[in-house]
Amino acid sequence: MFIIICPYCGERDQTEFSSGGEAHIVRPKQPTELSDDEWAEFLFMRKNIKGIQFERWNHSHGCRKWFNVVRDTSNDKIHAVYKMGEKPPINK
């Protein structure tokens, strides 16, 4: 039960948010040009890191905005929070 600092609303309890999985997976601009394998890579393959992970979160019981979170999955420590489209403040 951690606390997330929503970049739009500020400090809120985790229960207000929902997780959207790994961040920075860009939807291909021209999916039709991809092979089955390339499309499957986008569609199915996700990392499950023990340690620093870049994730998408949604303030679903708040402003409903999506944003990115850098979280250490081993201790839930959140190292950074930043808006969609912004560069990660920590190197990936």
Binding site: F2, P31, L34, N58, D76, M84
Partner: protein, 1003 residues
């Protein structure tokens, strides 16, 4: 019964208030301030239960939450009875009724006790080994195992008590109100920190509050007097909130902690009325100070489980705090100096101490010298090798230890004792620390696991004996120092205390004490509740178990309701010793929350009954209720299901409603469908991307059905979207999918296509939808909105008009989910019930028939229209549904498009939607039934299953939709639907059963 075991001690026990209670039906008395355990002991009752496996008689062993034996059932009321309550924790009240658990017919004579005689046949893993074979017998074994297992009985009726939740934020949370907790709370609150102090007992002060011993003094007074004064002082500090009877259950990340406050469990039933029973505190603390103390370890020797064998510290609390003698001839058995404190307390209260058996060679600490002065016989370098007495200990047998401690020598001495205090040193309570993510380190001097300071999250500390300080001097000085550093405090009122202590000497540790008998002939219990012995642990090791987690599960050591608070350290010690491993490397088992059990009531709080989940009702709900609708739950919505008339069955009502809708006119409350208002200059482009079909060319005022996929190409949701203006649409979604569709669309807009100028607003609750369908629907609408031109030219199928009813704006769509000529009126919700009633009035002459969701499902099935979530299950592509026509193949892209030609989605043997007709038209298939081709094949190949099935009154035959492997190729073929008693013959057909030419849409 007389109270000859009671001494005058009215500090904590109010002997002017006598309380009567019943234990196993026997009426007994105690005093206000007693726990059930102390009251039983005052009545000379030690035997309170039977052990889990061997049904051995067991007695009260401790005085706190670590109690493994004295687990009782409270009360008989089927809705209030409380199982697995620790007699050492429950406070006595007038009329308390308690029962022993796990024994039959009674605790004094228990038939299960035969297991004790059979115990050589019941080693560790016995159940796993024996009941494995033959596999088909498991069901029979299980019946007997379940029958003979189990502790208390859960209540059989709903819980009438009120439970509460409270959210709390503070600067500093102090867990534990013993001496170090009091020091911490005072320092914290005095230095402007909003502080919360919790203790699970009803009085503060821990063990020091009853420590009145010459060896332990602070500034020249007894430690208990000093602490009492401090406690009185802190009660007036403004920033400090103190909660007693509140036990910390869980310590989660980010200093989020759960605590359970008991508010009425100590009151008699009359005083409890209308009060909240328990409150769950949900605490966020900026900083946490853990001062949870330590619990005494038992010693592991032959027959160490008899009633009357107790922790030495418990005997001390019973005499010093409750004023109860736990026996008349008490012996103490120890490996450290703590037992000598008990000896002095007992002697002062006039209890005869038979002897002290100490496994050490000698100790010359102050307190031992005090005891020697009292002429108490001490057997140095001796151990207890056996005990006697079935329902209560009567004799102990002791022998001298060999020099290396591995065996015994010399002559056996037999001593008469009706109570034996055991003391194996102390175990810091590090549960909360590890729950929070802290790591432990091992201190080999006295074999304890302690919080590792270098691996402690920065916003917490552990102080006092849970941090490994056992001497009062260390506890006070270190607690003061640590709290000052932690909270950044310069000067403290505890800086210049003069503390005197006994200067304890080192304990001598032998995990499993030797006996004169071979180990196979002894019963040295480790886990008293689960009856696992040191032998069992050794057997598990011989059988190849190495990990402590595996040994724990195989032997069940530490798996009882006490969660191994007493047994874990010895199990670890024996494993380490036997395998030649260092205990620090071995590690501990995981400490999981809750620290002590929580009631379900406390967990759910007020979220019960109608508050368990939101119920959503449409604006016309009361009309449906008045017209005797039966309701079904769709997500959180209550939807009218059908409207039985004159005692009709559901089947009869649905048949009537379905016929009326096709023959004249039906009316449906469709308000629950999700409605999303879509605006922005890119709204058309957005729809192009989220739906499979093309939207750019949809004219203003027109409606279109759309199918939405997941990125994996599977059908996700469907509905009709209407173009209200150049840059504005209203989308409808399924009832259950509304919230998820909105979230999904928001996700794409915000993360993938932020360049699109599109805004989404949910308007599901704002507009109600009244659907009127059937050949006479036009006549109804004409009466309700007379000036609206309903001609096919002006208002064709799949179009919409803005209109007004009695001056109130509304939107009318001509769309159909039944295949009939039909309209949907969308109007602001607060007017909709009126409009519904207007429609009902207008339809009187046409037998207008309200119908519910079941009829809606039947009518659409006649037309072969799918319901997402019923005919689809997240594995169906549009092509699988025979809906290839809806895929905009020329479109550049839409969500899921690329997945439609992955190697897996283009397989032609995927499950595909088909129609099914039973050979016997009266036979109705069951939804979910499997479809097979060959009846005698083993294993039979499942070709698919029925997804929708109804008896169609309009076709006078049974119809069904199903998904079948290669279904598209199976038209006309015959299959079987095998049921429990018969096999039903079916034929695959087209999915559209009724009005294949869609003539009725314009009828």
């Amino acid at each position: 019964m007389s109270q000859e075991l009671r001494i005058n001690n009215n500090k904590f026990i109010d002997q002017t208030i006598r309380l009567s209670f019943k234990f196993n039906g026997e009426k007994l008395y105690g005093y206000k301030g007693d726990t059930l355990a102390s009251a039983l002991l005052a009545n000379n009752i030690h035997l309170v239960g039977r052990s889990f496996k061997y049904h051995r008689p067991r007695g009260i062993m401790t005085c706190g939450s670590e109690e493994p034996n004295a687990i009782v059932q409270i009360g008989k009321d089927p809705s209030l009875t409380d199982p697995n309550v620790r007699a050492t924790e429950i406070e006595l009240y007038e009329g308390l009724e308690a029962f022993s658990q796990n024994c039959w017919p009674n605790v004094k004579f228990d038939i299960g006790g035969i297991n004790n005689l059979l115990s050589p046949l019941l080693p560790a893993g016995f159940y796993y080994k024996t009941f494995m074979w033959p596999a088909s017998f498991w069901e029979k074994y299980e019946f007997f195992i379940r029958h003979s297992a189990g502790l208390g009985k859960s209540p059989s009726k709903p819980d009438p008590d009120i439970y509460d939740h409270k959210y709390y934020h503070c600067d500093v949370l102090v867990v534990g109100g013993g001496i170090s907790g009091i020091i911490a709370a005072k320092l914290s609150a005095e230095n402007n920190n909003e502080t919360l102090l919790l203790d699970d007992k009803n009085t503060l002060g821990g063990t020091t509050i009853y420590q009145k011993n010459d060896c332990f003094q602070i500034n020249g007074t007894y430690t208990n007097y000093w602490l009492e004064k401090e406690i009185n002082n802190i009660k007036n500090i403004k920033n400090l909130t103190i909660k007693t009877r509140t036990s910390l259950a869980a310590y989660h990340g980010y200093n989020y902690l759960l605590a359970k406050e008991n508010l009425t469990d100590h009151l008699n039933p009359d005083e409890r009325k209308d009060k909240i029973r328990q409150r769950l505190w949900k605490i966020r603390a900026k900083k946490v100070i853990i001062a949870t103390g330590s619990i005494e370890r038992p010693l592991i020797f032959n027959n160490n489980d008899r009633p009357g064998i107790m922790l030495s510290s418990a005997i001390k609390k019973f005499i010093d705090f409750y004023g109860v003698k736990t026996g008349k001839e008490i012996s103490l058995f120890t490996n450290n100096d703590s037992a000598y404190e008990t000896a002095i307390s007992l002697k002062k209260s006039g209890v005869n101490i038979v002897s002290i058996i100490d496994i050490r060679d000698i100790s010359s600490s102050k307190i031992v010298k005090e005891v020697e002065k009292l002429n108490i016989k001490i057997y140095w370098k001796h151990t207890v090798v056996n005990t006697e007495g079935y329902r209560r200990i009567s004799f102990i047998e002791i022998m001298q230890l060999s020099d290396d401690g591995s065996g015994v020598i010399g002559k056996k001495i037999k001593l008469k004792s009706d109570c034996l205090g055991i003391s194996g040193g102390w175990t810091p309570m590090v549960h909360l620390f590890t729950q929070s993510g802290g790591k432990l380190k091992f201190r080999s001097d006295d074999n304890v696991f302690l919080p590792d300071k270098s691996k402690t999250p920065s916003d917490q500390i552990s102080i006092g004996s849970c941090n490994g300080d056992f001497d009062i001097k260390d506890i006070i000085l270190n607690s003061n120092k640590e709290v000052k550093t932690f909270l950044g405090i310069k000067n403290s009122s505890f800086d210049n205390l003069k503390v005197e202590s006994s200067n304890e000497e080192k304990k001598k540790n032998i995990w499993l004490l030797p006996s004169d008998k071979p180990i196979g002939k002894t019963k040295p219990f480790l886990d008293f509740q689960n009856d696992s012995t040191a032998k069992d642990v050794k057997l598990a090791l011989r059988e190849g178990f190495k990990s402590i987690e595996h040994v724990k599960r195989y032997t069940t050591t530490g798996m009882g309701t006490d969660q191994g608070k007493l047994s874990n350290m010895h199990a670890l010690g024996i494993i380490a010793e036997t395998t030649g491993t260092n205990m620090g490397e071995l590690g501990t088992t995981t400490f999981r929350p809750p620290y002590t059990p929580l009631t379900f009531g406390a967990i759910v709080g007020r979220n019960v009954g109608e508050f368990f989940d939101h119920t959503r009702k449409t604006a016309m709900h009361n009309w449906h209720v008045q017209n005797k609708a039966k309701f079904e739950n769709v997500g959180q919505w209550k939807r009218a299901w059908y409207y039985p008339k004159n005692g009709e069955s559901m089947f009869e009502a649905v048949q009537r409603e379905s016929k009326a809708a096709r023959e004249s006119v039906g009316i449906l409350d469709a308000s629950t469908l999700g409605k999303i208002d879509i605006q922005g200059t890119d709204a058309s482009e957005f729809l192009n991307r989220v739906y499979t079909n093309a939207w750019s060319k949809l004219a203003i005022g027109k409606c279109r059905y759309g199918l939405m996929l997941n990125e994996d190409g599977m059908v996700y949701d469907d509905g009709v979207t209407t173009r209200l203006g150049e840059n504005r649409y209203i989308m409808t979604t399924t009832t259950g999918g509304a919230a998820n569709v909105l979230s999904k669309l928001e996700d794409y807009l915000q993360t993938e296509w932020p360049e699109l100028d599109v805004y989404l607003t949910t308007v599901t609750d704002h507009f109600s939808t009244i659907s009127i369908c059937g050949p006479n629907s036009k006549k109804i609408l004409n009466k309700v909105i007379p000036y609206l031109d309903l001609s096919n030219e002006n208002f064709p199928h799949m179009s919409f008009k803005n209109s007004k009813i009695n001056g109130i704006k509304c939107r009318v769509m001509r769309i159909s989910f039944t295949g009939e000529h039909s309209y949907e009126i969308n109007i602001q919700s607060n007017y909709s019930k009126n409009v519904w009633e207007m429609c009902m009035n207008a339809g009187k002459d046409y037998n207008i028939t309200p119908y519910g969701t079941e009829t809606m499902h039947l009518l659409r099935a006649e037309k072969g229209f799918i319901i997402t979530g019923q005919d689809t299950d997240g594995t169906m592509t549009p092509s699988d549904l025979q809906m290839d026509w809806i895929i905009g193949k020329k479109k550049f892209d839409f969500i899921g498009k690329r997945s439609l030609y992955r190697s897996d989605t283009i397989r032609d043997d995927r499950k595909q939607l088909v129609g099914l007709l039973t050979d016997d038209p009266k036979e109705i298939l069951e939804e979910g039934a499997q479809i097979v081709e060959k009846l005698n094949q083993k294993p039979v190949e499942m070709l698919g299953h029925v997804t929708s099935s109804y008896f169609s009154p309009n076709l006078n035959k049974s119809i069904a939709l199903a998904v079948m492997k290669s279904g598209k190729k199976l038209k006309g073929k015959k299959f079987f639907v095998p049921m429990e008693n018969k096999n039903i013959n079916v034929t695959v057909t087209d999915t559209v059963f009724f009005d294949k030419e869609n003539k009725r849409l314009n009828a």
